[in-house]
């Protein structure tokens, strides 16, 4: 069974007075299987963030449906959505979204505390994740005391500690220097090898190369997709760049 199924999803934004209607997504369909590592690429304004927000149940589609682990998001009551999100999804954001009021450790514990887990269990879960993400030495520090790369690894730890069905990453390398970005992408590949399903939105070609499959979105539609299969990172890089060039220059020839 697919972990995520997106079927014919459309999203229309209507301006406040109802005058302007903007089609952000049109008839988007795809599925993510367990253990997959999928990147969604597209230019600014192509609708990729809208798509991610809909998958994350932070926004509602105006058409079509989204199923996560077999459950239709539209059928979940508003009050249960937060808990559903907490139990099934992990998030990594471009700007980390760590809370300054908590230490690194407590930031990671936050979703577990919200789920009412015991402290001992939290600690047990933290140990392997912290060592895999190489943050075991900064657990007692505060977010404003650590570097951007460290912050993003902490955010990843927070996303992974709930053992989510699906890890959603929104431009995770966007605010990082290239070394930190490489390190994070290495970690993504590593946890994917351990079986973690990942869906990442990015416009960095380098980030997309690490994924096993890349979806391209243009003007709110799925435009193309590439499988990495046995390609090396360099070959994948070239394929993605070529696709992006087509999108940028004569993309609509295809339509």
């Amino acid at each position: 069974m697919s972990i995520l199924t997106v079927s014919n999803v459309g999203k229309i934004y209507t301006s406040r007075l109802g005058g302007n209607r903007v089609q952000a997504l049109t008839d988007v369909s795809f599925a993510v299987e367990p253990g997959e590592y999928v990147a969604i690429m597209g230019e600014s304004g192509s609708g990729k963030t809208t798509l991610l927000n809909i998958i994350a149940s932070l926004d509602k589609p105006t058409g079509g449906e989204v199923k996560i682990a077999g459950q239709n998001l539209a059928s979940i009551r508003e009050n249960d959505l937060a808990a559903f999100r907490r139990n099934n999804l992990g998030f990594v954001f471009q700007d980390f979204n760590l809370l300054d009021t908590f230490s690194v450790k407590d930031n990671i514990f936050l979703p577990l505390v919200l789920s009412g887990k015991k402290y001992d269990e939290m600690r047990e879960r933290l140990t392997p994740i912290a060592s895999r993400l190489r943050i075991q030495n900064i657990l007692e520090k505060y977010p404003y005391e650590i570097s951007g790369g460290q912050k993003q690894r902490v955010a990843a730890a927070r996303a992974l500690i709930t053992n989510p069905q699906l890890l959603l990453a929104d431009e995770p390398t966007g605010a990082l220097d290239s070394r930190s970005a490489d390190e994070l992408l290495g970690i993504f590949t590593e946890i994917n090898d351990f079986g973690q399903t990942i869906l990442m939105v990015t416009h960095s070609v380098k980030a997309a190369c690490t994924a096993k499959r890349v979806l391209f979105i243009k003007d709110g539609r799925v435009f193309h997709q590439l499988y990495k299969a046995n390609l090396s990172d360099d070959e994948m890089f070239k394929r993605i760049s070529d696709t992006l060039t087509i999108i940028a220059t004569g993309g609509d020839v295809h339509e």
Partner: protein, 669 residues
């Protein structure tokens, strides 16, 4: 460059920063208006000529100082808040290529605008409300004179100078602030992470000690006379204690909660404990300020209200009858010795009755009684007379059995050397009583004596001693005067009520006053009291107090409200981030809202609750202070305490709801 650029930029800036500038200007307008009103009341010559206006000038002078100092502190505080919030804006200008001197120019124009808007608004407001407050004041003081519209030019001048100075200081502060910071810091000014506060044990313990000391002083102080200096000590202790406890105690307490893993890693406490910890550091001083200001408002308003409402009571207590003539029947002769002339009392009695008859003044309840009143201290075996009335002295009243009967209607059958004793506090008197080497046998104790003259109602202990006859009184007089050479300890009192209206009573009082003064012109010491004339003086004093209490209470209230408003806004901006992040991490909107709400509520009502605790502990000492001002009626004080606290709480909640709305608007935008 266009010369008008800076003035125009400044105007645009102020428009854009409405949320910050409007409260700043409103608070400036209020303080200016209040300062002007105080100036106008003080400078109003019509008021100075009024009958009995002795206390008012002093009260207003005190008010002026307090308002001036407060305006200064308060406007500096609000300004520092304002500039902190605007660092980013100035940083942007700097980065975009504006030099610091250009930023200074913009700030200069902004200050000029803010100053003139505040000054014009404040003065207009002040003039408008000057009339209103004057009317209120006259009503409070029971003055009947109507005044026309009156503008105090000196008031305008003083106000302009004082507030011009304050705004200038603010401008200089802001310019220094901008010059001293690097553009990058300006840009990031708003969101530099704050270190987690450290728990400081020693200051926390000190805070507890200070607060404990203040409370203890307030509770154990017995003598109202000692209460005045001790009250100041207690107030200082409580202020220090409050600051220390808010700044360190709260953090220490929260830290220990955090150490308890089971408690801390719980859905209900996780957010609030860490949030409070984060907040406490930023806001401890602000919260302590709110707490102390609230306490000040409560104490000031409740005491002045109870003094004012208790005026009639105090008058009745102090002057039981409309007219009282007290003849001391003694004077110093040329050798400096005290001569006793008991006949002066008899002469006055006769003359007074005749005068009342002749002038046709209708009166009732006429009575005459004699007593000796001395201040003494217990020397271990007997009472020794003292010159001065102090914290440890007690007051002894000696009545003859006849006077006792006149006052209470009861017979005291006493043999020679026997006395009847009634005591209120002070030294316990057993079977015998020794005064100035004379020993009496105590024949009995009486349990009530409501007619004690109340001059010394604040003494440590009061003893009423009924002796067998006038001869004993005269002997005591001789004993005392030979030892102390003081002439006014003997009292031969004639008092009675008048039957007319207040107006008639006042006129009759005047007539009788002239008569008594004439009659006693070549005799010894005496005093004359007409309640109706005293009434005006009482109302003038208590009314001035109340006026001051209300105006200062209002000022402190506004300051409190403004601090709360600014706190809510700044918290709103920082909470917005948290609000969003927690939602993304898997907290529902309702959960986030309720978490923040409970935190804000705690932070908001902590100062109010603390203020009420302070108020409760202040009760014993303040009630003793009020006794000094003649307020004996505890019920009035308790009632006004409760009513003031309730009214204050209602206003506080109202302000909370109002600012909470702004807060939620910021957070959920």
């Amino acid at each position: 460059m266009n010369k008008l650029l800076y003035p125009r930029l400044a105007a645009v800036n102020m428009g854009k920063q409405k949320k910050l500038y409007i409260p700043y200007i409103i608070s400036a307008v209020f303080t200016i208006a209040m300062y002007y009103i105080m100036c106008a009341v003080k400078g109003n010559e019509g008021l100075g000529e009024m009958r009995g206006a002795l206390f008012l000038p002093e009260a207003t002078a005190m008010g002026l100082i307090v308002i001036g100092v407060f305006a200064c502190i308060f406007l500096l505080y609000t300004n520092s808040f304002l500039i902190k919030q605007r660092k980013k804006e100035f940083g942007l200008y700097n980065v975009l290529g504006m030099e610091k001197k250009h930023i200074a120019a913009i700030m200069f124009f902004e200050t000029i605008y803010a100053f003139f808007i505040s000054l014009v608004g404040g003065l207009a407001f002040g003039m408008l409300f000057d009339k209103l407050t004057s009317l209120l004041l006259y009503r409070l003081l029971k003055f009947e004179i109507k005044l026309g519209f009156y503008i105090s030019f000196s008031g305008i001048l003083y106000t302009a100078i004082l507030f011009g100075g304050i705004f200038l200081i603010n401008l200089i502060y802001n310019i220094i602030k901008v010059y001293r910071t690097k553009p990058v810091e300006l840009l990031h000014g708003g969101n530099i992470g704050e270190k987690e506060p450290k728990a400081k044990i020693i200051p926390a313990i000190l805070g507890v000690l200070f607060l404990g000391a203040g409370y203890t002083i307030a509770i154990v102080t017995e003598s109202p006379l000692n209460a005045i200096p001790l009250f100041m000590v207690a107030v200082l202790c409580v202020i220090f204690g409050t600051y220390l406890l808010f700044m360190t105690g709260s953090i220490a307490a929260l830290k220990s909660l955090k150490k308890n893993k089971k408690y801390y890693y719980n859905k209900k406490h996780f957010n609030s404990v860490s949030g409070m910890l984060y907040r406490m550091k930023q806001n401890a001083a602000g919260l302590a300020n709110i707490c102390i200001l609230s306490t000040m408002v409560l104490v000031m308003v409740s005491t002045t209200v109870s003094l004012y409402t208790g005026t009639e009571d105090a008058l009745q207590e102090r002057y039981p009858k409309d007219i009282a003539v007290d003849v001391h029947c003694s004077r110093f002769n040329e050798e400096g010795q005290v001569e006793f002339h008991p006949e002066e009392g008899n002469e006055m009695d006769l003359a007074l009755r005749k005068e009342l008859q002749d002038s046709g003044i209708r009166f009732q309840d006429y009575r005459r009684y004699q007593y000796i009143c001395i201040v003494a201290s217990w020397g271990g075996t007997q009472f020794q007379p003292e010159y001065f009335y102090g914290g440890s002295t007690e007051v002894l009243y000696f009545f003859s059995a006849d006077s006792y009967k006149t006052l209470t209607g009861k017979n005291a059958v006493l043999r020679d050397g026997e006395v009847l004793v009634y005591s209120e506090g002070g030294t316990q008197i057993g079977d015998s009583l020794s005064v100035m080497n004379k020993t009496y046998k105590v024949a009995g104790h009486t349990d009530s004596f409501s007619e004690i003259p109340t001059f010394y109602n604040v003494a440590n202990g009061i003893h009423v001693i009924v002796v067998s006859d006038m001869k004993e009184l005269q002997e005591l007089f001789t004993l005392y005067t030979s030892a102390r050479g003081q002439a006014d300890i003997y009292h031969d009192v004639m008092d009675f009520n008048l039957t007319g209206t207040a107006e008639e009573k006042r006129a009759q009082g005047e007539t009788l006053k002239h008569f008594v003064y004439d009659a006693m012109s070549d005799k010894g010491y005496f005093s004359f009291d007409a309640r109706e004339a005293q009434k005006a003086e009482y109302y003038e004093m208590n009314g001035s107090f109340l006026f001051l209490g209300i105006v200062l209470g209002l000022l402190f209230l506004i300051v409190t409200v403004m601090i709360i408003y600014y706190k809510q806004i700044s918290e709103g901006y920082s909470d917005r981030e948290r609000f969003l992040i927690m939602q993304k991490v898997g907290m529902s909107r309702a959960e986030v809202k309720s978490t923040i709400r409970s935190q804000v509520l705690t932070v908001f009502f902590l100062p109010l609750v603390t203020a009420c605790i302070h108020l409760a502990f202040s009760y014993p000492i303040v009630s003793k202070l009020l006794k000094m001002f003649g307020l004996m009626n505890q019920t009035i004080f308790i009632l006004s305490l409760v009513v003031t606290a309730a009214v204050f709480a209602v206003i506080y909640v109202f302000v909370y709801l109002l600012t909470a709305r702004t807060y939620y608007k910021i957070v959920s935008r």
